[in-house]
């Protein structure tokens, strides 16, 4: 525990500096409110006890005094509601801001991480960092801080109040309560461990359920319903067993602290009763004492919960601290790049491997002239997508392998490169937004999406991507919401919207990764024409383009075609040259050429 605290010092200090420090004034005010609260908390039983004694005395003066006491109780009763409320607001609201800042910072940081990092991560886990872990930090900064502060104030105040009434009695009744609190601490730790296992068990049960639901047709055809049910029972029963263990802890172990408080009350009655007989204490003192004891028990209970829940907060803190410590990609580093016209691109002896494994690309070289189009073709796994990602600098290429107008792209500021490139990845990922917003997402930052310029571009790319008919058939045209909360699009429609999103950028460099694989034959031809048309009319305007495809029909218009196989360039040349050469390209073409008319 101690060494764990030691290596938490760094994360805690950074967390404090980054998020908590600005809340310190609020915490101080909150602590003052807590002192006031606890003053009232210990004063109320005292007053109740005094009133009991006064009423017990029964004489006129005493009754008047009791009335005064009652008025003080009214004031304290109203006062405590106010200060208690205030203390919670002063601790919890800044903590909410901590949660918010952490969430935003984590998100911003994640979006600045290199693809090599993001590609390895599960999206669900990343989301959980920005949400669940941020919530855990909020509890640390709010709930835990409040409780710890409260305990630090309340315990001494309770004990002092009790001590002033009767020191020995205080010690006597604190014995069972302290034992109860220690036991509680131990129990809660075990309880949390069980609850965590329970969550794991539930996740494993869900896996099994999902497996069967996803394969339900197969299970039925095979008559394997019984086998599936038996497998389900295995996990369902295991989960139930665990829940029953949790239940028995809840029933038998957790109430022990409360029980110890009542045992303490018995001690107060017995020992304190004897003191009353001896005239050392009054009945009112007994009233005050037992009330204070029960109040102390509730403080200790929350302490035990807080201590246990802190370990979760610390785990989250560690995760978030580790993440925020990972270096971001610095998009501003490097030389400025301003392209007034489409540049030339060249790839020189490019070799690339993801890990220490075999290289995915091996000595690849080719040139794309200004405003020209190069096609990359090859079978699955040939390295086409990797090549394009490297040019787009989605993955960082090695030094001196990719050049723009003769300059190493590595030396160019990434932000400028992003501005120069319109890249359409293989998976046409669209956001849950309108089609219009999805397309305009591709606009460069300097073009206002509400400007006439944006509208002009939008019109143009809708035509280029052959989307008019699709839009006309949609309930709200461009304002149709797509994705999870919207309509389902076909693969081809998604691809064409993704294409439009890239074209709207009007970037001098266009990189297309197999963007027509799900588009039907007729539309494919139209799109190929359109993309070629970008080049046809005025060459000065035409983007320098690299098109990856596994279909040769898409590449016929390319100025130059590179055939990849196993990460190497095996052939290169124009369409006609390659067809005449009768090599791999010709073979692929022959295979596909006759598949025309088949659905994909």
């Amino acid at each position: 525990m101690r060494e764990r605290l030691a290596d938490l010092a760094g994360p805690l200090a950074r967390f404090y500096r980054g998020y908590v420090r600005r809340n310190v004034p609020s915490y101080v005010a909150g602590a003052v409110a807590l002192v006031a609260t606890n003053y009232a908390v210990v004063r109320i039983p005292k007053l109740a006890g005094e009133a009991v004694d006064l009423l017990g005395a029964g004489d006129r003066a005493a009754i008047a005094a009791a009335r005064t006491t009652a008025w003080e109780l009214v004031v304290l009763g109203v006062g405590i509601v106010l200060v208690r409320t205030l203390s919670r607001i002063l601790f919890f609201n800044p903590a909410r801001r901590v949660e918010y800042r952490v969430g935003v910072d984590v998100f911003a940081h994640l979006l600045a991480m290199p693809r090599t990092f993001l590609g390895r991560q599960n999206v669900g886990e990343l989301v959980s960092l920005a949400t669940n872990d941020a919530t855990a930090l909020r509890l640390l900064a709010g709930f835990a801080s409040l409780q710890i502060c409260n305990v630090a104030i309340a315990i001494p105040m309770h004990v002092v109040q009790m001590w002033r009434t009767h020191p020995q009695l205080t010690l006597a009744c604190l014995v069972p309560v302290t034992l109860g609190a220690l036991y509680m601490r131990h129990t809660i730790r075990r309880f949390y461990a069980l609850v965590r296992r329970g969550m794991e068990f539930l996740a494993r049960l869900s896996d099994r359920v999902l497996e069967c639901y996803a394969g339900v047709g197969a299970i039925r055809v095979l008559g394997a319903e019984r086998a599936a049910l038996a497998r389900f029972d295995e996990r369902n029963d295991a989960y139930l067993d665990l829940q029953l263990r949790v239940a028995s802890m809840r029933a038998f172990a957790m109430p022990v602290l409360g029980f110890s408080g009542l045992v303490g009350t018995a001690v107060v009655l017995w020992w304190g009763g004897r003191k009353v007989m001896a005239g050392e204490l009054s009945v009112g003192d007994l009233v005050a004492f037992s009330a204070l004891l029960l109040s102390l028990v509730s403080v200790l209970t929350s302490l035990a919960w807080v201590l246990a829940s802190m370990s979760r907060g610390m785990a989250s803190l560690r995760r978030i601290d580790a993440l925020l410590g990972e270096p971001e990609v610095d998009e501003q580093r490097g030389e400025a790049l301003v392209l007034s016209a489409p540049p030339s691109l060249s790839v020189r002896d490019l070799t690339f491997a993801y890990d220490e494994t075999e290289p995915v690309l091996c000595g690849v070289s080719f040139d794309v002239p200004r405003g020209g189009t190069v096609g990359i073709v090859g079978s699955t796994g040939a390295g086409k997508t990797t090549l394009l990602s490297l040019i787009a600098r989605v993955l960082e290429p090695p030094e001196r392998t990719i050049f723009v107008d003769g300059r190493d792209v590595k030396s160019v500021r990434l932000a400028d490169w992003r501005r120069a490139v319109a890249y359409v990845p293989q998976q046409p990922f669209l956001f849950s937004a309108t089609i219009r917003d999805n397309i305009l997402f591709g606009l460069p930052p300097e073009v206002d999406p509400a400007s006439p310029e944006a509208a002009r571009r939008l019109d143009r790319v809708i035509r280029l991507a052959a989307l008019e008919d699709d839009l006309a058939a949609m309930p709200e045209g461009l304002d149709t919401v797509v994705g999870e909360r919207g309509i389902m699009l076909s693969g081809g429609q998604r691809q064409r919207i993704a294409l439009a999103r890239a074209l709207v950028r009007n970037a001098p460099i266009l990189l297309l990764d197999d963007v027509l694989s799900a588009v039907d034959q007729g539309t494919e031809a139209r799109l190929v024409e359109a993309i070629a048309g970008l080049h046809g009319a005025s060459t000065a305007e035409a983007p320098t383009t690299v098109v990856v495809s596994h279909r040769t029909s898409v590449l016929e218009h390319a100025d130059h075609i590179v055939v990849l196989d196993g990460g190497r360039v095996v052939e290169a040349g124009s369409h006609d040259e390659l067809v005449r050469a009768g090599g791999l390209y010709a073979a692929i073409r022959a295979e596909q050429g006759r598949g025309e008319g088949s659905e994909r």
Partner: protein, 591 residues
């Protein structure tokens, strides 16, 4: 009012339907319910015992009597603790067991739902019905319902005790309770409203976050990081503001409890003072008992509305679960029933068979006769209806029109009249994607518990389909195949599927594009395996590969939901129709 009564009726209906799941645990429920009054009685009695000590033993100055009373007090405390522990344990046990039974029923039901249902409802929704909805119930059953009941009994007994002690004092001090109820209701309503808003804001923010992280590549390559983060800040701030406002109400609701007891004690003093002044006897012990009662009666009142909300959520979950259970499922197999397919040799015929998944017909009048022992290939473009025929033959989908009859000894039976479980013992379908459980090879071939005889049979089947060496290589038939068989290639999975067929020995085997995605190394093995599997069976091959088709006794060509050509490979090629064109385009790459 009518709405309330309707709610009550529907709640009652929900519960009545729920009872069968709880019934097996009724012993525990009974124990829990019996412990409740004990808990309540002990809670109410404890201050009375203390009162006795204060009013009788202390003035008498009798330490022995005090000791006796304190021992009684300890006994009451112990009984309260024990009864409460037993109650909590018994009811949670009953609750969790009930929920486990319900979950099992839901699962068993879902895996027997018609596939049409799965076409309509995403698997994720079904999963959350089986897990999260049931979990929500679990919480309520083990805490909500019964703690409310316990709280109610405790409140009633405390109130009863207070009135028994001094009706006037009870009346005045408890006058705060209705005030509290109203205040809590008002605050809770406001809070619930804010919490709804909070959850909505949170849902939107998290949804945005998840989606942008999923598409982080797009955000990055389009250089939209800055404004994406800015958008998230706006959404997050909305959530932040909602939570901060909710915090205020939440804090007030919490703090109310600290104040209310003090106010109640003040009222107690104000009410008692005149009595004492007129010399009426109000004992100190009575005051002690009242102070004690007043400190514990208000908390359950505050928590009441929260617990009610939990129960309402659970009722909603339960309704969703019932909605799922109300969907008609395939009946569970009855092993005792007579086999209507005795004497089936694999022959079947379709007459004017029509079928559609939705309104549009996929099969538009298919006529087909397959004699026992024949190998028939079915070819056609995607969407021509050839896979649909296979699904109808194993009753994955029902509701065809026309006839689909299986030839049995001395006649024929309509597929729709054969119970699905029986049918599938006789007709096997091997799909393109072989489904494997994350279990051993043996389990996956046997599809059930593996006894000694079954082990033999599994081993024989694996050897026969030439899969033995691949199983051996991975450590034998007791080795797990890994999650969804991810350690096996598509072709290897096919071999396992063939072994399954051998083990069950159906008369009719349907291969649905079974060898479409197989690497060439495994393919030769598969070809050999197929020979063995086909021997002595009727086979329908829904095919992509020419090699399989060529060897078929007959080839049926599907086009737009009809059979447009039939004949042998040679005949059809010679005819130069749809088949010949298909061969030229689709099958060419194999040559």
């Amino acid at each position: 009012m009518s709405q309330a009564s309707r709610k009550a009726t529907s709640a009652f209906a929900l519960l009545r339907r729920f009872w069968p799941f709880a019934r097996p645990s009724k012993g525990w429920v009974l124990v829990g319910l019996m412990a409740m009054p004990i808990v309540a009685a002990a809670t109410a009695a404890r201050p009375l015992v203390a009162k006795h000590a204060i009013d009788r033993d202390l003035p008498a100055g009798d330490p022995a009597a005090l000791t006796r009373t304190v021992l009684v007090f300890l006994a009451v405390v112990l009984v309260e603790f024990a009864a409460q522990a037993v109650q909590v344990y018994a009811l949670q046990r009953a609750g969790h067991a009930t929920v486990a039974r319900l979950r099992r029923t839901v699962f068993d039901h879902v895996i027997r739902l018609p596939l049409r249902y799965f076409d309509r409802v995403p698997v994720g929704t079904l999963l959350s019905r089986t897990t999260s909805d049931v979990e929500a119930l679990s919480e309520t059953l083990s805490f909500g319902v019964f703690t409310i009941l316990t709280d109610l009994i405790v409140i009633v007994s405390i109130v009863a005790a207070m009135f028994a002690l001094d009706a006037r004092l009870a009346l005045f001090t408890l006058a705060l309770a209705p005030v509290l109820v109203v205040v809590v209701r008002v605050f809770s309503a406001a809070l619930r409203h804010l919490q709804l808003e909070t959850r909505r804001a949170q849902g939107i923010a998290t949804g945005f976050l998840a989606e942008r992280l999923g598409g982080s590549e797009i955000v990055q390559v389009f250089g939209r990081r800055r404004d994406t983060v800015a958008q998230y800040e706006v959404l997050g701030a909305r959530y932040l503001r909602a939570t901060q406002r909710a915090n205020v109400y939440d804090a007030l609701l919490y703090a109310l409890m600290d104040g209310i007891a003090a106010l109640a004690i003040a009222i107690l003093i104000f009410t008692a003072a005149p009595d004492v002044a007129t010399g009426a006897a109000i004992s100190v012990g009575l005051l002690y008992a009242f102070v004690d009662y007043l400190q514990r009666i208000f908390v359950p009142i505050r928590e009441f509305s929260g617990k009610l909300a939990t129960i309402q959520r659970a009722a909603a979950s339960l309704e969703r679960i019932y909605g799922l259970l109300d969907e008609a499922a395939e009946p569970a197999p009855e092993p005792t029933a007579a086999d209507p397919l005795a004497g089936f040799e694999g022959g079947f015929s379709a007459r004017d068979l029509r079928f559609g998944y939705g309104e549009e017909l996929v099969l538009e009048g298919v006529d087909l006769d397959v004699a026992p022992g024949q190998v028939v290939a079915v070819v056609g473009r995607t969407g021509s209806g050839k896979s649909t025929l296979a699904r109808l033959l194993v009753r994955l989908y029902d509701g065809y029109r026309g006839h689909l009859r299986l030839q049995v000894r001395g006649g024929s039976v309509e597929v729709a009249d054969v119970p699905p479980a029986v049918l599938r013992r006789h007709v096997a379908m091997i799909p393109q994607d072989v489904f494997l459980f994350d279990e051993s090879f043996a389990f996956n071939v046997a599809l059930g518990p593996v006894d000694a005889a079954m082990r033999e049979r599994v081993a024989w089947a694996l050897r026969t389909v030439h899969a033995w060496d691949l199983v051996e290589r991975r450590g034998g038939i007791d080795t797990p195949v890994g999650e969804r068989g991810n350690r096996l290639s598509a072709g290897e999975k096919q071999l396992i599927a063939f072994a399954r067929v051998l083990v069950r020995s159906p008369e009719l085997v349907i291969l649905d594009e079974a060898t479409a995605s197989v690497d060439s190394l495994t393919e030769s093995k598969i070809q050999r395996a197929m020979e063995t599997v086909f021997a002595g069976r009727t086979v329908v091959v829904i095919a992509h590969r020419l090699s399989t088709v060529e060897r078929a006794d007959r080839i049926c060509v599907f086009d737009r939901g009809r059979i447009v050509e039939q004949g042998t490979h040679g005949e059809l090629l010679a005819r130069g129709g749809v088949y010949a064109r298909l061969v030229a385009s689709e099958f060419d790459r194999d040559d």
